[in-house]
Amino acid sequence: MATLSRPSDHYDSRREAPQTGVVQPKLGLTGWLRWFWRQLTSMRTALFLLLMLAIASIPGSLVPQRTSDPNGVTQYFTDHPDLAPILDKVQAFDVYTSAWFSSIYLLLFISLIGCVIPRTKHHFQALRAKPPTTPARLGRLFGFTTQDAPPHSDARAAITHARTVLKSSGYRVARFDSDTESSVSAERGYLRETGNLVFHAALVGILVTVGFGGGYGFAGQRVLVEGQTFVNTLLAYDSFNPGRFFDDTTLDPYTLSLDDFSVSYEQRNLQAYGQPIDFTADVTVTPKGEAAEPGAVKVNGPLRTNGTSIYLLGNGYAPTIQVTAPDGTVVFSDSVPFLPQDANLTSLGIVKVPDGLAEQLGMIGFFYPTQDKAASGANFSSYPDLEYPLLTLNVYTGDLGLNAGVPTSVYSLVTDTLTQQTGGKTGVASIELKPGASAELPGGLGTVSFIDNNPAASAAGDFTQSVPRFASFDIHHDPTQIWLISFSMLVLFGLFTGLLVPRRRVWVKATTRADGTVHLEYAGLARGDDPALEAAVSAVAARHLKLLKTHQTVVATPEST
């Protein structure tokens, strides 16, 4: 088999446009539209758009993207202040929602639909059509085999048997009889084109589902410290991204409590000492008006409950900090989530005390679960678990900027309008606190305490219970996932059948010679890639001859019965 033959009914690219110099008929508007449509739906254009799509995807992996790496984008603007705005103009930080990327894939899908619809029509016709007339010269085709039928065979009867053999092998058959010869024309593998069409239609399904279906869900984030409870309502989320069509009054107000967050660290293998090997958030979910049910959220094990999925995406320490005014009133008391900065959970947190003290107070804190000192004198954490916890605080006083009504992040402190009182260049050492310890704030503002969650154990030297942990949860609702998975299954089905099912034609011809013997010819034609065509033709020939021989012994003895 030298080359792979194209199916004659394959929807291929159009022939080249007429060369210039040829006098072309004037095209009206419809003519131009038809011309444009043909260009767009040609295989050549589809191929061009596919390659464009591949190339257009590359920049998104080179430049940080707002959707997947917003901090990276901010950093990029800091690092490349001249280049970043130019890149931003061409939507380089939003490649996959950019006008140019969208236009490529939309054109590709229009091209695809324009190609698939006529092919589907054609395929339905082919499914109803009879296999074509047997060619006059089978010798030119693939797997050509000739055989002499067993003696006393009849050409028409031989073809009847060939028809049986082919039909039982899943071929669609048509027989042709004339005075001198009989033949059967057979075709199989219509599933190949069916699969091909299903594959492309399912891709359209995926695009539509992703494009519109995403609008019906929501994604929200919420940080919970051990012991805290969250009610699934809009205001309770730290951040909330509803889809375009999502109605936030439909939120199901169940409650989610983080009872315990447990982490285990590798302690035997020194090559991976301190590497986390398990994170488990033990939670309690209470649907509205129903009994509470316990559950667990793990990194690869989201909790599916009340139409939402709860994912565990982050964790860290939330030291309990208390600030007391000189008169003894507690003006701040909270477990503050500190964001991990490295693998050993050196963590950074912000405390803001706007009211109750003589001045507004801001503190930037570092928490070291296992504090150690570098040769330079800087603190660092040498192990992620609570072996020797230490909290250090740099104190700022002045205007926190909270009264302007502008939303500010709880994870950052704008120090422009503040005066630093401890740490850095102030000459005053940072406040350093062990769990359970307190210190005076500078300028007689009051006292700050690092509350120990389990003083008894800490007194015995076990600090592992002294600081609560937090978990950051993503809570999603996506009603389209079932559609996506279904379309994906169809894509796979379409690929398997569209690429691997061979579509082929096989012919068997029986000619009665002058001496009355019957001459048999077998041949096949691949329609699309078909590595096993010749083997298939010889298998048909072998089965047919076997059937002819068995049949012959039956008909050879009618006189004796």
């Binding site: 191929l47 390659l51 997947s68 990194v299 994912y311 894509v491």
Partner: protein, 352 residues
């Protein structure tokens, strides 16, 4: 398993790996010698001008194992020419080729042992970091090659396959090696077994497809030169390099083989993408987020989709589609070697 046993097993795994690499190196040499012999046999014919007119379509010769070259009258019937023997000058299996295949099988067995022992040492599937992924990925490339040999005679690709695997294993052992470590929580999923394994298998397919497409391009150039050498007195273009190409299948045959292997790779890659999406949904809360690794997996998918379409587009069959397969596999290697290590993203599991 206790730690000392694990460390011991891991050191056995390394011994097995280095032995496998040494044996692959010898196999590489044997395969290269075979190619050289093919070239010199073709050269001998060229010199003797023993080939009759129209040799390109009908002459055949067979070399018996060893140094004696016997020439036979054409025995090939073009009508029933099978896939493997439509070479301009079919060449038998030389002793060096047999040695090459035997050494490859031996090297593969050691490679398999190294991978299995690494898995037992780590008490999990041996593909959770770059080193292990390279170990398993190359094992699968080799496995695909050896399995395909049963069905189609692609022994002439031995130089390429052993060479590629040797280079990748060398980089893995020297640059990517990390000690056995437990699975981080993000990788503790059944999808690690499925997603990564199928991705490696697809890579094995694409590697072979790449090799076939490369040879196809070289062969196509040779065939064109042969045609251009107007007087068809010989199957060989005068003074050309890589004369062994005359003993390999025609470019059309190579193209069909490459296509069949690449479509299997494409189906596996599609599955990899889907399995990855399902896993991403469980681990990160979204099935698709244009993470750098996702982007490149998508790019590779689109390139091979383009390759399949190119084969059905007038003017794109043959060399142009072969280039797409070559670009596709280059992107696979880029995705493995560069994106994993240097690009920022969620697939940060290289262990480096």
């Amino acid at each position: 398993m206790n730690l000392t046993d694990s460390a011991l097993l891991n050191s056995y795994s390394l011994y097995a790996l280095y032995s496998a690499m040494a044996i692959y190196a010898f196999a590489f040499i044997a395969f290269a010698v075979d190619l050289a012999r093919r070239s010199s046999a073709v050269g001998a014919i060229e010199a003797a001008d023993l080939v009759e007119t129209d040799a390109a379509s009908s002459a055949g010769f067979a070399a018996s194992a060893g140094s004696t070259v016997t020439l036979k009258r054409p025995v090939l019937s073009r009508i029933s020419a099978r896939m493997d023997d439509d070479a301009a000058l079919p060449y038998g299996r030389s002793s060096s080729l047999r040695v090459g295949v035997a050494l490859t099988v031996l090297g593969w067995a050691l490679h398999l042992a190294a991978t299995i022992m690494r898995g037992f040492a780590a008490d999990r599937v041996p593909w959770a970091n770059m080193y292990e992924f390279a170990l398993t990925g190359t094992l699968l490339i080799m496995t695909v090659f050896l399995v395909v040999l049963i069905r189609a005679d692609l022994r002439f690709l031995g130089t390429f396959v052993t060479g590629l695997v040797l280079v990748l294993l060398g980089v893995a052992a020297l640059q990517f090696y990390v000690e056995v470590a437990p699975l981080p929580p993000a990788l503790q999923s059944a999808w690690l077994v499925i997603h990564v394994f199928v991705a490696s298998l697809a890579t094995g397919m694409f590697a072979l497809g790449f090799a076939l497409s490369t040879v196809q391009l070289l062969q196509f150039r040779r065939e064109n030169r042969t045609l251009e050498a107007a007087a068809p007195r010989s199957a060989l273009a005068p003074g050309q390099r890589l004369r062994f190409l005359a003993t390999l299948p025609s470019s059309a045959t190579l193209e069909n083989l490459a296509y069949r292997i690449n479509i299997i790779g494409f189906i596996l890659w599609t599955f990899t993408l889907m399995a990855g999406s399902i896993w991403a949904e469980q681990a990160w809360g979204r099935y698709w987020g244009w993470d750098t690794k996702e982007v490149w997996t998508f790019i590779i998918w689109v390139i091979y989709a383009g390759y399949i379409h190119a084969r059905a587009t007038r003017g794109w069959r043959g060399s142009r589609s072969a280039w797409l397969a070559i670009i596709g596999f280059s992107a696979v290697m880029f995705n493995f070697g560069i994106v994993n290590v240097f690009f920022k993203g969620l697939h940060a599991y290289s262990g480096l």
